[in-house]
């Protein structure tokens, strides 16, 4: 009985905080994406040769952890199969946040665009039993920084 009560409290807490954080995060993401849109991130491996650019590696990394509610929902999904929508929004946020951080770094370096952009993910608590799962999403690319004309 107490177990069930504890479960419900944890679920309610997870849902409350999780949803609040998610809404706030999305608002921030959309706003910053609009701001950094002027600095394009391009997947192509071939940067323009002219004019001459200085190159620099830029990275943006985010570690996300799943809240109790999302985790419970995903566990239920394990039973029936289908889209794990509770994780989808979480990872969507992580990807976009990483890209934004990478762009932010590029802007700090004075870059005008980032080329050869790639993503990597790593599970932090892989296989570690009942710990809350965390995932790192890393975005990296080559920043093109205009050299002052001689």
């Amino acid at each position: 009985m107490y177990d069930l009560l504890l479960l419900l409290v944890l679920l309610a807490l997870g849902y409350g905080f999780g949803q609040y954080a998610e809404r706030r995060h999305y608002r921030s993401i959309v706003e910053r994406e609009a701001r950094l849109n002027a600095l394009p991130a391009i997947a192509s491996r071939y940067p323009p040769a002219e004019p001459h650019y200085q190159h620099a590696l830029v990275t943006g990394s985010t570690v996300v952890s799943v809240d109790y509610f999302k985790r419970f929902l995903a566990a239920l999904r394990n039973l029936f199969g289908g889209r794990v929508t509770s994780y989808e929004s979480l990872l969507d946020r992580a990807r976009r946040e990483s890209l934004l951080r990478m762009k932010q770094q590029a802007r700090t370096l004075g870059a005008v665009m980032v080329f050869n952009v790639k993503y990597e993910t790593a599970s932090i608590s892989k296989g570690a039993g009942k710990t809350i799962g965390s995932v790192e999403v890393l975005a990296y690319g080559t920043a093109l920084i205009p050299t002052p004309s001689r």
Binding site: Y15, Q19, V30, E33, A34, N37, P40, A41, I42, P48, F69, K70, F72, L73, L76, R77, L79, F80, R83, T85, S86, E88, S89, D92, M113
Partner: protein, 293 residues
Amino acid sequence: MKYRNPQIPEGINTSDRHPLKEFATLAGGAVLLIVALGWLMGQVAGSLAGLLPFEKEMALVPKELLSSDAGPELQAYLDRLADRLGQDMDLPEGMQVRVHFSGNDTFNAFATLGGNILLFRGLVEALPHENALSMLLAHEIAHVLHRDPIVGIGRGAAIRLVTGLLLGSPDLAVLGSAGIYTQLHYSRGMERAADAAALRAVHQRYGHIGGAAELFNILRAERERSGGGEMPAFFSSHPLDLDRLQTITATARQQGWHENGQATPLPAAFNDWMQDAAGRAAIPEGQRQVRSD
């Protein structure tokens, strides 16, 4: 060449389905699944357990359950009563009922594996005459006759296993703990069937069923007295006492049995035997004799 990032519309990589809605669907489905699977497994395991030979069942009983606080006279009296009722109820060859008596003042009685019946002083002391005691004994013997303990354990084990597996903490040591032998819960149907068989036996023995109703009245009074909290096995029996009383009346009318009759008194020394058993129960656990028949 001009490079730019177009604005990508929201909601492609995510779903706008409300998470609570999804939770309700999934949790509801899971609960349904667990209940359905648990019920199904319980039925299957119960009927399989019923096929286990009675001799094998006797081997499953833990020794510490078999102690008895009854003095020789009380034990002989209870054995005789159980034997006669067993004969009336046509216990099959090889199925033997053994009555154990606990001097504890617990208000309870139950039948467990291997034809072992445990009566507690708290309940037995409250019985006014032999007829009520016979009804109680006959009810427990009927559980043994119907193989209810092993079916109940099989059912419970299967249900625990299924829910455990689905919820991620399977308790595979189902027959390991002695607790389950004393915490048997029978289904409503099992209790009804035991009541009916016991009633028939009591009628056959005494020619009327006067004491039977008395037993349920005492149970009901105790339930009300204790405020209906945690109920021992005999009463957590699902058909409510009132229902059981009505069923008794209905059965008696249908069969043309006498509902009232001369009650057979308990032996004169009965109260002394009770005191004697209570005294034995007070001896610390380790120094008690374990019955080895």
